[in-house]
Each structure stands twice: as C-alpha cells, then as structure tokens.
C-alpha cells in the first residue's frame, strides 16, 4: 500500500526525544487458513505494518557524508594503541583494539585513486524490501592503506577481480542509507551514472 504524503510515518528528535508523525501500524484483519482438502481450520495470518526507528549513533557522520559526496572512514590515533594508524572501512566509532574513539577521516580521494574489486557476485534474486535494480552486482572493495574490505554494489559495467572502481554518491535525492554509495569502473562517463548520483 502506498501512503499519501501526509500519512507517511516520519520521526524527528526534539528536546532529546523521538517525535513521530504520520500514520503508523495500520491494522489489517487476520485471515483464516483452511485446509482445502479437509475443509478444516489449520491456522491464521498475522499481517503487520511495522516501522523500526533506528539510530546511527556515532556512525551518522558516515551516512550523512554520503549525501555530500564524501566517503568517511575511521582511524585510530591513540598513541598507546598497538594498532595506531589502522584505518577501518566500514567506519568504526571506536577502535576495536584499544576501544578509544576513532578519528573520522575523509578517504574519498584514496578511494578514487586506489579502490579495486576484491571479489564480487551478480545476483538476480533479492529479498522483500530490496530497493536496488535487479540484477544486483555486489562488489567487495579494497583500498590501499585500509585494513578491511568494504561491501558495495556496482552501478555500471561488469565486475571482475582487480577492476579499478571509483565511488559515486546519491547526492541529489539521498536515502541516507548505505545504498547512497555505489561504484562504477574508473573512467565511466558522468552520463552513465544512475539517476541522482554524482562522482
């Protein structure tokens, strides 16, 4: 069911609390399940219209930056950490080794210059609530000087191991989720980018 604009459930934070507006939890009647062969009652459907309210906490900067065309990672700058200087992407709020707050850093340029496909798959199937166009080309992306391998999806061209890719961002109509970040092969023309995306 598509809701009218004024009915879409929305949430803001005001005075440190969530405030919700719009329509949530629209009830839909249970329906009986009969065995057509025996004519007997076997069960019941339980429809639910649920909306989760979820905080990004200290990762919010990562998701907000995507809308601004920036790829943020985190780096441990703790002098006393055995792994000082380690860069993590996925972004981590705290260094997993010393548990001190990590420093958010902008790795957009590093990604443009060094991002490469580590592995990939193309899937024609998705689960309910998928928002990406099928087939989805998942890629795992390695960056020079980054300790981990980010998962993403390729929006143009065909994936292969070692392919140089560059990030693109949904800056025009951001969803503020990880799908605002996508990737295309190095050298892809701006005209090939999906609707709403920029380099």
């Amino acid at each position: 069911m598509v809701k009218a604009e004024e009915d879409i459930g929305k949430v803001v934070i005001k005075d440190g609390r969530y405030k919700i507006s719009g329509k949530f939890s629209i009830p839909e009647a249970n329906q009986p399940i009969f065995n057509e062969d025996t004519g007997k009652l076997a069960g019941i459907t339980n429809p639910r219209d649920m909306t989760y309210i979820h905080t990004y906490g200290g990762e919010a900067i990562f998701f907000e930056s995507l809308a601004k065309g920036k790829l943020m990672a985190s780096r441990c700058d703790n002098e006393k950490c055995e792994f000082k200087g380690t860069i993590h992407e996925p972004f981590r709020i705290y260094c997993p080794d010393c548990l001190r707050k990590a420093t958010p850093i902008d790795i957009t340029e590093k990604a443009r210059k060094t991002a490469k496909v580590h592995s990939f798959i193309i899937t024609a199937r998705a689960g309910a609530f998928n928002s990406l166009k099928l087939p989805i080309k998942f890629i795992n992306i390695e960056f020079e000087g980054v300790s981990t391998i980010l998962m993403g999806y390729l929006s143009f061209g065909e994936p292969e191991m070692g392919l140089r890719v560059v990030p693109i961002f949904n800056t025009k109509n951001p969803t503020y989720t990880i799908v605002d970040l996508s990737w295309v092969p190095e050298g892809t023309a701006e005209s090939e980018l999906p609707e709403g995306f920029t380099f």
């Binding site: 689960g127 795992n140 981990t148 998962m151």
Partner: protein
C-alpha cells in the same frame, strides 16, 4: 574442564520445508520422545533426570513470538526447571549443546538438556529472505538486496579463482558435495531432500547468486533435535553406553568486511612455515582469512583438538558432520578444521576420503563426511541443525545408525518412500567423531567432539 561430560541420548523429529498443520512444540516433543525411546525409557522417566535446559532457537522474528523457549519448555512439561535460550545463528544447535556441556563440566548440573528447533515456513518466501538477511549488518549490508546467499557467493568467486585456479574441474568438485549429500539423504527417513542427482544437475540448477545455484545451497527447514548430557554417574543410570563429548568454540566479525589480515593459526597437524609460500602456490592467497577461510572454524577446531588430544583429524576421527550450508563453505571448512591444508580442500572430495565408500577404490572412505545428508540434503532447521549433526555422529559411534535409519515403519510414519536400493551407511567401528556448527558468514562456530569412552586419546 573439571568433570567429564557424557552424551547419554539424542533424538530428532522429522524434518520438512513446511508443516502447515503441526505446531513447533509437536516437533520438539517428537525429538525428546525419540531421545527417551533411544534409551528405552518413557519421556516421563527421562525427564525426571533433567536439571537444566538449553534451548536453541535462532530466528524468533519469523514466528512473531518472543520467549518461545518458555512455550516449548512448558509444553515439554519441564517447569519449574531453569532454562535459557541460545541463538547464535547457524551455530545455535552446537552452541546450545556447548552451554549444556559447560553446565555439567562445571559441576553445576548433573543432567542438562540441549534442544533446538526452527521454523521458517511461517512467512512468505520474499519476506523470509529478508528476515534471514537481517542476520547481516543492518546498516552496512542488508539494504543492498536483502538476500543472504550473496555473502557466500563472493567467497565462492574468490575461492574458485585463487584455490580453484578458475578451473571447471573445481566447479565440478563443488557440485560433487551436493551430489554426495543429497545422495546420502536418500538413506535417511528424516531427510527433506533425498535426491539421486548428477554434477550436471547441480551445475544446471537455477542460479541463486552466481556461482551458487539452488543445488549448491542448504535447505530451509522446520524441525527439532535434542541431546542430553550428564555427569558420569547419571549417564550410566540412563544408559550402559554413554559417549564422551566436548565442544570448542570460535568467533569472527559479523561483517566479512571487517576481517583484517593476520597470520594463520596452526592446528596440531600443521607446521610452522608451511604456508610461507601459499601466495606463490596460489596467487592472490596472501590474505588470511580473507574471503576464502573461516577463522572461527579454525579456532573452534583448535580448542576442540587440544581438549581431546586429537593430533590429526584424518587419523584420529572416524566420522564428521560439517556445516555444508553451501558447497563452497563445506570445502572451505575442510581446510579450517585441518582435514586438508589451506588451498587443498578439494582433494578431500576428489580423493574419495569424504565418502562412506571411496568411489575410486570401493573401500571404506578414510573420513566419511555428512552421511546424514547434511544441511544440503537433510535439513537446516537452524536451531536444531547442530544437534542433528551431533545425534548423527553419535548414532555411528553407538553402532546404532541402522536402527535409526532402516526401520520401514519409520519411513511409513514420516510418509516417505524407502528407496529400494537403501543401503546402510553405518561407519563400521566408528569410535570418534566431529560435528561443526557454523553461523553467519563464519561469525560463530562450535566444534563438537564425540568419543567412545573406551577410545579416548588423552587422559582426563
């Protein structure tokens, strides 16, 4: 561990894709009743020994029922005994047993029940796929497709290229895992997907996430399984033939993305320096565990082998049940648990060692794997899976595999046709076995070791 722990009995329900007219508790009662039958007791007699209960049930969001453990516990008539739910994904069954073992080993409990179940038939398939994919990272992974198989497919791509050297023959070996396990499922009345198939059938089955096809993937199942562990005194009150049991456990990051490069930890049968040239022999294999290996499995096996005195799984074990969630992850795990060195997992299948009867020699396989039919051929009712594997390993060591799988009355009761070429898969003289329970993309792994108490490798 302080006290020796014994596995006294095990039981399983029938497994199926869907039970539209059977409540979960009915399946749990089937499993516990089977465990009572196995030691020739009534369920009431068996229950009178139980002191603490560990329930394995992973995906409670499928059933829209929190505290489902309390429902099952009540229906099993086990109130007011203490009970707790355990839910680390695919490793839930093994982990429920891990908890039960610790309760007995510590001296806290003289008899503990580990019972698991799952039901994934109560949501439409697309929503079910979404619910399963919720086991990935909610912010960083799930929004990209809401589908789980992809996480294993990227591993399959990488593994096939690096260790399979992009050869078609490696793809065929992957498919052989499915042919083998679906084939063994034919001898198992509990099994959901018995099939006589060929490598071509697997390779031509519909694509899920390339290169993984439908027949490379485990089943989605409903069912229940259980095991009861005891201290020595109680175990011998329940049965004349309890087995010894231990479990080691390991973990790694939920997101494969977060796995940093590290040195390869070595089980007792591998030597310092043996992987120095891994990247030369297999170009691209310069990152561990990367997308080709599961650190959690290696660590779980490392602890389990050290607890039990196992030096070499191929020499010291007679039977294994591995977590064949996908053909590729089955091959990966041969290496993680030390059955083959890293890079050479395919040889376990290609040599015929993994079979009940080695197809190359016609002689008994060196270390038969997943004679139950595994997750690919028999079931993956997540919370019950690890317990089914422990039960199946146990049946071999008890030398009672035939009794459980052969009886025509059971085939009839389950509404399944016993194949005319049914053959016994009992591993003759089995004394020691291993069962691997594995979650997520290797986030949690348990390694259970079962032994005949007269054939221990290490003194307590």
């Amino acid at each position: 561990m302080s006290k020796p722990v014994y596995l006294a009995t095990v039981g399983m329900s029938k497994f199926g894709r869907s039970f539209p007219e059977t409540r979960t508790e009915e399946l749990a009662i089937q499993a516990l009743t089977a465990a009572a039958d196995f030691v020739k007791m009534t369920p009431a007699e068996l229950k009178s020994y139980i002191h603490t209960c560990y329930y394995g049930h992973f995906a409670d969001h499928f059933g829209d029922q929190l505290l489902g453990e309390a429902v099952i516990h009540d229906r099993l008539g086990l109130d007011p005994l203490g009970n707790i739910g355990v839910k680390p994904g695919g490793a839930t069954g093994g982990s429920a047993m891990w908890e039960a073992i610790k309760a007995v080993a510590s001296g806290y409990s003289d008899c503990a029940l580990a019972l698991g179940w799952e039901r994934m038939d109560e949501a439409p398939t697309d929503e079910g796929n979404h619910l399963i994919s919720a086991a990935a990272d909610k912010d960083w992974e799930t929004p990209m497709g809401h589908i789980y198989t992809g996480y294993y497919a990227v591993m399959a791509q990488r593994y096939w290229k690096i260790f399979g050297k992009s050869e078609d023959s490696f793809r065929r070996t992957m498919a052989e895992v499915s042919v083998k396990n679906h084939g063994y499922a034919r001898m198992n009345p509990y099994a959901q997907a018995p099939m006589k198939i060929t490598v071509e059938d697997v390779i031509n089955s519909p694509i899920v996430a390339d290169p993984l096809r439908v027949l490379d993937c485990c089943l989605m199942s409903v069912g229940s399984a259980c095991g009861i562990v005891c201290d020595e005194k109680t175990a011998y009150e329940l049965t004349d033939n309890p087995l010894r049991i231990w479990i080691g456990a390991g973990s790694h990051t939920l997101r494969v993305a977060d796995r940093r490069n590290m040195e390869i930890p070595l089980p007792p049968n591998e030597k310092v320096g043996q992987y120095d040239d891994l990247g030369t022999r297999f170009p691209g294999a310069d990152r561990y565990p990367g997308f080709t290996s599961f650190l959690a499995a290696r660590v779980a096996a490392y602890y389990a082998y050290n607890m039990t005195g196992i030096k070499d799984p191929c020499d010291d074990l007679d039977i294994v049940e591995l977590h064949d969630a996908f053909t590729i992850s089955d091959i990966q795990s041969y290496e993680d648990v030390g059955i083959r060195p890293y890079g050479e997992g395919r040889d376990y299948i290609e040599s015929g060692d993994a079979y009940h009867t080695n197809p190359l020699t016609g002689k008994p396989g060196k270390l038969p794997s997943n004679l139950s039919g595994g997750l690919i051929g028999t079931m993956h009712a997540v919370g019950a899976t690890g317990l089914m594997q422990i039960a199946e390993v146990g049946y071999h060591i008890w030398n009672r595999w035939d009794e459980i799988h052969e009886d025509p009355a059971k085939w009839k009761e389950f509404g399944r046709e016993k194949p005319s070429d049914w053959t016994s898969l009992q591993v003759k003289g089995a004394k020691r076995g291993l069962a691997i329970s594995h979650a997520g993309v290797g986030s949690h792994v348990t390694a259970a070791i079962l032994m005949d108490p007269n054939h221990l490798l290490k003194e307590d």
